[in-house]
């Protein structure tokens, strides 16, 4: 930032010096007056151009990403979704006997969950737990969320699936 200001001031000083030199060299007369006007205009332009380009850049940035830097809205949405799913995973991991948990978003309001357990667990309660966790982390209504659950555990090795709407 300071380097930019330094560059700006340096270019202004160079223009001032060149303009003064032109004033010295040119003979007295009409030409000198017009040269003075043009040097003044160039100086004005050089002084205002960084401000102008800054305003221009601010106008072109969409409001949603103005605070988040470069990138478009979709990537931001993806980051948010990943974060929400990750929080839900962390909550599910706190459930007793759950060893690992992986949740992915299949389509809006529908999630796939792969859970590995250390002991047999009722899949019904687990589904309800995952739904509650997702409801907390995404802020959606609990009844709107459907979870397709695949449990891998010591006793029930065959995948138990359940969908609830």
């Amino acid at each position: 930032m300071m380097a930019l200001i330094g560059h700006w001031v340096k270019s202004l000083i160079v223009i001032v010096l060149l303009g003064n030199l032109a004033q010295f060299i040119l003979p007295k007369g009409d030409l000198k007056k017009y040269a003075g006007l043009i040097v003044g205009l160039v100086l004005l332009l050089a002084m205002v151009s960084p401000v102008w380009s800054l305003i221009h850049r601010l106008e072109n940035i969409p409001a949603s990403t103005a605070l988040l830097g470069e990138g478009n809205g979709n990537t931001f949405q993806a980051v948010v979704e990943q974060e929400q799913v990750g929080q839900a995973e962390a909550m599910v991991l706190s459930y007793p006997q759950v060893v690992s948990c992986h949740i992915t978003l299949a389509n809006p309001h529908h999630y796939d969950a792969y859970v590995k357990t250390g002991a047999p667990i009722s899949t019904q309660t687990l589904v309800r737990y995952i739904q509650a966790a997702l409801a907390v982390s995404t802020g959606q209504n609990k009844d709107q969320i459907t979870v397709h659950l695949v449990v891998q555990g010591p006793s029930n090795t065959k995948p138990a699936t359940q969908a609830k709407s």
């Binding site: 300071m2 200001i5 330094g6 001031v9 202004l12 000083i13 001032v16 010096l17 303009g19 003064n20 004033q23 010295f24 003075g36 040097v39 003044g40 100086l43 002084m47």
Partner: protein, 387 residues
């Protein structure tokens, strides 16, 4: 049974009677032992390294200050500082006076040249050119001395930050040791943040902005046809507003945090003393007295450390401030003296240089004042806790 009872009574009486003597006798040795157990060597080494350029001045070490204070002696005779300052004033006067002499010579030459060329060449074109050449030489000299002053301020800031970074951990440890645990916890991050924020902002924003403003002003005096003086005004104003805002923020935060921390510490300490007095049977009184003695002695040590820090800041800042002040006065004198010669560029250049030296003086002074206040406020805020 009865004999045993009397023995217990006797023991309690002896402890209650002797404990004040025990704590009163051991305060000297206690302080010495604490001074030895806290490692102040790195601070002392840093201080002696920083004060190295001024060999006349000896800033006492922490243990020297502690023993001097215990034996009611003056740890830092002020006349050695004053004599060193007087020497520095003499040296700076001679050095800057030489520069001013060259500037005088140049401006007299410029005046003679312009009068001569006016009589030769009626159009005044050559006179203008001659004046420009002289002013450019003047600007070169002035910018050189301004660059020296600027790098001096830069180095001073680096030195003071190094000093604070070796001082703060020690100060915080001793603060916690003297019972001001909440103050120590509150102040440590704030102090580190403030020191680095002030140093970074001043070094990379305020000083460059003032330098740019001065250069623009000088170019304006050199070639007066197109000048961008109001831009210089804007840049300078920005830099100084930044510094002023920083200072206001810093003072406010320091005041609030200081009072909050010392209140919390006072409550904790008094509760601790009360608990020890009331609930520890037999030796409770002796225990709380001993606790007070330990806290008092580490408070003495903490104040010694802060005295070393404050003294070093004074010594480090005094000489650059003197140099900048002399520079400012001499440039003003030059501006006043060259005005009657009638070469307008010269006296305005000198005026600008004097103003720039004044701004540097203000920046250095306010940053040093901030660091100085930080040490004193922090220490006094935590002093109130133990009593």
């Amino acid at each position: 049974m009865r004999k045993g009872f009397w023995v217990v009574i006797l023991a309690v009486g002896m402890i209650a009677f002797l404990s004040p003597f025990v704590s009163a006798q051991s305060i000297d040795t206690l302080v010495q032992r604490q001074a030895q157990s806290v490692n102040t060597q790195s601070l002392d080494r840093q201080v002696s390294q920083l004060v190295n350029p001024y060999p006349q001045i000896h800033v006492p070490t922490v243990s020297e200050i502690v023993s001097d204070l215990l034996h009611h002696k003056n740890p830092f005779p002020l006349n050695q500082l004053f004599s060193a300052m007087a020497q520095a004033i003499g040296g700076d006067l001679a050095q800057e006076g030489r520069v001013l002499g060259v500037i005088f010579l140049l401006s007299v030459l410029a005046a003679i040249l312009s009068r001569l060329s006016e009589s030769i060449d009626a159009s005044g074109h050559i006179a203008e050119l001659a004046q420009m050449a002289v002013v450019s030489a003047l600007i070169l000299i002035a910018l050189h001395s301004f660059g020296v002053a600027l790098s001096m301020v830069h180095n001073l800031l680096t030195d003071v930050v190094h000093l604070m970074e070796s001082l703060i951990p020690l100060l915080v440890v001793l603060m916690a040791g003297s019972g001001a645990v909440a103050s120590a916890g509150i102040f440590h991050p704030i102090m580190m943040l403030t020191v680095n924020l002030v140093a970074v902002l001043t070094r990379s924003w305020v000083l460059p902005l003032v330098l740019l403003a001065t250069i623009i002003d000088l170019v304006g005096h050199w070639m007066p046809n197109f000048s961008i003086k109001n831009l210089a005004l804007l840049l300078r104003q920005t830099g100084l507003t930044l510094l002023g805002g920083l200072m206001t923020l810093f003072l406010g935060v320091m005041a609030v945090e200081g009072s909050a921390g010392s209140v919390a510490d006072g409550v904790t300490l008094r509760t601790g003393k009360f608990l020890a007095n009331t609930f520890v049977p037999v030796v409770g009184k002796a225990f709380s007295d001993a606790m007070e003695a330990v806290l008092g002695s580490s408070m003495l040590l903490k104040n010694a450390v802060s005295v070393v820090g404050a003294l070093t800041i004074i010594v480090l800042v005094a000489f650059p401030l003197i140099k900048l002040f002399i520079m400012m006065v001499l440039y003003r004198l030059g501006a006043a003296a060259t005005e009657p010669l009638g070469v307008s560029g010269v006296n305005k250049t000198l005026e600008t240089m004097a103003t720039a030296a004044g701004w540097l003086l203000a920046i250095t002074g306010s940053v040093a004042l901030m660091f100085f206040l930080m040490i004193t406020v922090v220490v006094t805020a935590s002093n109130g806790a133990g009593l």
